[in-house]
Amino acid sequence: MSEHVLKLDPPAFGPERNFLPDAIYSEDTVMILSEGSESAQAIADAFTSVGASIVSIGKDMAAARRVSGIAEGHGQASLVATYRSDVTNVFDEVTETLGTIDHCIIVNVETDIATPFMEAFAAEKPAKGKARSAVAVTGAGKADAFLAAWPGGSRMNVVEASLDSGKNGPVGRAGGTFELGWAVAFLCSPFAREIDGQILKLDGGAS
């Protein structure tokens, strides 16, 4: 297990068994656009712990590697690039090494940065029989912009996450990054394959 996995907060409560069945994403490649935050690492952990390969696109290579390191910690394949990378080249390299991208996850990245990657994902021909999905994790009030900008090609949902604000809400505590990971992994899973165009507010009921 890599140092990146050990950096994540372990669940302090809840069932000890796995959230999703082992290997449910073992044939899937997940692209994560992020600044390498702990939230992005937790999302990578939620996918790679059940078999996914990761394409980590970061604001720089260090940010990208913080997320790809989670995949390596789970023994899963990964590939890194930055926001400034040529999108066509990135997708070509992914296709050669990992296959087509099945899920597009955008973690607190502005729409103008994410749009070229979203458009390339939407234009890609999906692998036969595989369900594709996208999830954007945003701050409060930014969900509609992502749903409006989504070019199609798969279902798309948004998680408006505020992990600190729950202390002031009915839940009475901050949210864990692992809870954000579970929410995103659920929305991409076969158990949510009909859910599309929805906004999940993850704020502990504070708003």
Binding site: F13, G14, P15, R17, N18, F19, L20, P21, I24, A143, L147, R155, E160, L163, G166, G169, P170, V171, G172, G175, G176, E179, W182, A183, F186, P190, F191, A192, R193, E194, I195, D196, G197, Q198, I199, L200, K201, L202, D203, G204, G205, S207
Partner: protein
């Protein structure tokens, strides 16, 4: 792929109130996820609702921690079962969660605001599929309900979701 959700629930007792294909799909998936299902009558009387919860508690031999309520758009949940469940949780000193299943536009958000509290996590699914719909949509309804009822969604409170874009998208 498995036809049902994983064992997301740790054998809770769940009272299901209301009727419709979507309600049945939710009850089915919650049972598959590990819940013991009891039924309660639709009522706007708090004492009758409390009695239904206590009967389920006694019959199952375990406390009730999940309440699924479909009012058919009449929104009696906050008035009757919501108050009853809050009373029950106070009495038993337990935490619980309530899931409202409502048609689109039934005002579930207003109910959620009055239901959410330190002991009660409240969320809603507002969808045309609560009444009926294609099998895959009904299954999706049940799977979403199972996730929202589970400890994996313990930080999700006050959320109001639909199933697809035909359900007018709601801020959750």
């Amino acid at each position: 792929m498995s036809r049902t959700v994983p064992s997301w629930l740790d054998d809770p007792v769940c009272v299901v109130v209301g009727a419709g294909d979507g309600v049945e799909a939710v009850a089915h998936e919650l049972a598959a996820a590990g819940a013991t299902i009891a039924r309660g009558p639709v009522t706007d009387d708090t004492e009758a609702a409390l009695a239904a919860i206590e009967i389920a508690d006694k019959a199952a031999g375990d406390p009730v921690s999940i309440l699924v309520h479909a009012s058919g758009g009449n929104d009696v949940a906050a008035k009757a079962y919501g108050e009853a469940f809050a009373k029950y949780l106070d009495k038993t000193n337990l935490k619980g969660n309530i899931l409202l299943l409502e048609p689109v536009g039934a005002g579930a958000e207003t109910s959620l605001a009055s239901l959410c509290g330190p002991k009660l996590r409240a969320n809603a699914i507002t969808s045309t599929y609560v009444a009926t719909g294609p099998r895959e949509k009904l299954r999706a309804l049940g799977e979403l309900a199972s996730y929202l009822a589970s400890d994996y969604a313990a930080y999700v409170c006050g959320a109001c979701l639909g199933i697809d874009r035909s359900d007018k998208r709601r801020r959750a």
